[in-house]
């Protein structure tokens, strides 16, 4: 409870973001002030402690499991943590998580950018506002509902597309289909794309809306078509925003649990075809294996959760860095 934060001699920063420095530090000597500062600083510290606790507990349980693991944790295709000897690895899970997220991103990013452009530059103003509002609401639809819809509506409707892919692209091996239910990584990727679409659209829309009017009008005055305006002034301005939006969406796709668990029919091998059931993701594996797991099994699941945690940390951290850089950039231009 010292008074160092009160005595900072930082120059009064402009803007509402930085309340003027209270200067003398006399305020902190009052008991009420001291208690209040203590409480609020305590909450801040609590958040840090919480993050540290999450990381250390997960690491601790994970290390218990990995130390007993007889197989290579990163390359093994087995998941048998209760066996003698226990053998488990995350190769299948990492593969499934990455493949489904990549499919989701490949579908969602172009479409989201398209919708964001539609809302900001193509649709009539009222319609655009309405669509933006609806997409905002869709971002709040819980993943369990996406999962239910995916399992009961999307999966039966995928047969046509799967048959078509098999007919024309089946020879690549990537799109070969044996005619079973469409509970595969491709369907999961499509469902994930739908789930992250609203998030990416919302953030991209905000960025596109901030494009300086002057840039667009200058391009229009030179006789550019609407597409040329977008290509020359809107997209370059919004690029970093779109990238960070996509990474936020990627973070959600990587960690998505229930929707994947309800749609995918999991197995512990990697199939060459995206259309055949099989594979798994980190989060899905935890949710579906958790029930029958012993303590050792739970520790193994925690170890895989730890890997997921690190991956999402890296992805989100990257997105934040890009956003932060952009903030400085646009601030300098303001």
């Amino acid at each position: 409870m010292d008074t160092t934060t009160q005595q900072t001699t930082a120059p009064p920063a402009p803007g509402p973001a930085a309340p003027a420095d209270k200067g003398t530090g006399r305020g902190a000597t009052r008991p009420g002030d001291r208690i209040f500062l203590g409480l609020s600083r305590g909450s801040g510290i609590f958040v840090l402690v919480l993050m540290a606790a999450i990381a250390s507990f997960l690491t601790y349980r994970a290390s218990l499991a990995i130390s007993k693991d007889e197989a290579n944790f990163f390359t093994s295709f087995e998941w048998n943590p209760t066996g003698l000897p226990p053998e488990f690895g995350i190769a299948v899970l990492a593969f499934g998580t990455i493949v489904s997220s990549v499919i989701a991103m490949a579908i969602a990013v172009p479409i989201s950018v398209g919708i964001a452009l539609f809302i900001t530059h193509y649709a009539p103003r009222r319609l655009g506002g309405l669509i933006a509002y609806v997409i905002d609401l869709l971002a709040a639809v819980p993943s369990i509902v996406y999962g239910l819809w995916g399992a009961l509506v999307l999966v039966p409707h995928m047969d046509g597309l799967y048959g078509w892919l098999d007919d024309y692209l089946g020879w690549t091996g990537l799109f070969a289909w044996d005619g079973g239910p469409a509970r595969s990584l491709l369907t999961v990727g499509i469902l994930l794309a739908l789930m992250i679409l609203p998030i990416i659209t919302n953030v991209s829309r905000e960025v596109f809306r901030q494009v300086p009017r002057m840039h667009e009008e200058a391009a229009l005055a030179l006789g550019a078509t609407r597409w040329e305006v977008i290509r020359m002034s809107v997209l370059p301005f919004g690029r970093s925003g779109v990238i960070s939006a996509s990474m936020l969406g990627l973070g959600r796709a990587l960690g998505e649990t229930m929707a994947v668990a309800m749609v995918l029919s999991p197995s512990f091998d990697i199939t060459a075809s995206l259309l055949d059931p099989g594979g798994g993701t980190f989060a899905q594996n935890i949710a579906s294996k958790f029930n029958e797991a012993t303590v050792m099994g739970q520790d193994a699941l925690i170890a895989s959760g730890m890997v997921l945690f690190v991956i999402t940390l890296l992805v989100n951290g990257g997105a934040r860095l890009i956003i932060a850089r952009r903030k400085e950039y646009s601030g300098a231009n303001a």
């Binding site: 509402p16 606790a53 996406y146 819809w149 597409w227 960690g255 699941l301």
Partner: protein, 350 residues
């Protein structure tokens, strides 16, 4: 296609332009063609002929436009149609999601459904309801709110009113990081702490602790934004009158921004209400009414949907109940969202 009707008007300054109905005409033509092709080829999926029509539309408008208007205009038209296609591609499944939930959900949704539990109802039989799930959701979300709102708001106050230097920077960074924690990882953390180390059984409270981890960063972020909007003049006026800083915050800053803070909290509640994964790990779910969130498994709405789906054995009755619960959940979240936005709009302009 007669060129007379598409009559390119030529004058000295403007190039030829196509009439406004051109895009609609191409759209209609490609819909008809797409449907015709799929009917002829015996394709039975709606998705397929819609895709064929979309491709025909893009190709057709590019070809016609580049012939008459030139390549720059043609590219512009292609971009326009791609943007429209993107919009339609996304809207169809999302509309289907809402429509299917509403249509299938209303079948069994009535007063009985809302006021009874699944206590003596077998999974595959009709009957039963979601009373126990609603009770569990309200208790778990309520407890999570009680835990995370004070911590979240105080942290935001620290960041805006006091925070300088390394600690504030670290807190800001880690709040950002926390926003991205997958819900299943939050569940695993509480699991390792609560169940494996403290040896406590599953309970609603354990679930709400995990939900708090997801809620705190959202509350901090939104409250921070709101506090930053409070004009500095208000703080300075209060301090100049000799009011202590803590009373300034409590009596001037917080009341000014309370509308926005409530909005943020409600949006955060809407977000955690639909979380399933932590509940699955920590609360387990049950078919019986358990009003005590501190002991024994509880149900929650998302958990109910999952269990009805997973234990249905393909029975229509269980699916009906799952859809009805999904509709209830969506309605609850949408109402929270709408009310939150209403408050934001009502409180916003001063």
């Amino acid at each position: 296609m007669s060129h007379a009707t598409l009559s390119p008007k030529r004058d000295s300054l403007r190039g030829a332009t196509l009439p406004k109905w051109f895009a609609w005409a191409v759209a209609a033509a490609s819909l008809v063609l797409g449907y015709g092709i799929s009917a002829a080829a015996g394709l039975d999926s709606d998705i397929q002929w819609a895709l064929i029509a979309a491709v025909l539309f893009v190709v057709g408008s590019y070809a016609l436009s580049s012939k008459i208007e030139g390549s720059r205009q043609a590219k512009d038209r292609t971009a326009t149609s791609l943007v429209w296609v993107a919009f339609l591609l996304a809207v169809i499944p999302l509309a289907s999601l809402l429509w299917e939930t509403a249509e299938r959900g209303v079948k069994v949704l009535d007063g009985y459904f809302l006021t009874h539990s699944m206590g003596v109802v077998a999974d595959a039989e009709p009957g039963g309801g979601i009373y126990h799930a609603i009770l569990g959701t309200l208790e778990q979300v309520g407890l999570a709110t009680l835990v995370s709102v004070p911590i979240g708001v105080l942290t935001a106050i620290y960041l805006v009113e006091y925070g300088r230097g390394k600690l504030a920077k670290a807190v800001t960074f880690f709040v950002d990081v926390m926003t991205g924690i997958p819900s299943i990882v939050a569940g695993l953390f509480i699991l390792s702490l609560w169940v494996l180390i403290l040896k406590m059984g599953p309970s609603g409270f354990a679930g709400s602790l995990a939900l708090s981890i997801l809620m705190i960063p959202v509350v901090v972020r939104s409250t921070e934004e709101m506090l930053k909007l409070v004009p500095n003049e208000l703080r300075e006026a209060s301090l100049a009158l000799g009011v202590p800083k803590w009373r300034t915050i409590l009596k001037v800053v917080l009341p000014t921004s309370v509308g926005g803070i409530i909005t943020g909290v409600m949006l955060a509640i809407a977000r955690i209400t639909g979380e399933t994964a932590p509940v699955l790990l920590l609360v387990w779910g049950t078919d019986f009414i358990n009003a005590n969130p501190f002991q024994d498994p509880q149900e929650s709405l998302p958990m109910y949907i999952y269990l009805q789906w997973a234990n249905s054995g393909g029975s229509g009755a269980a699916f009906d109940r799952a859809w009805a619960a999904a509709l209830t959940l969506i309605a609850f979240i949408m109402i929270l969202n709408l009310v939150a936005r209403g408050i934001a709009r009502w409180k916003a302009p001063r």
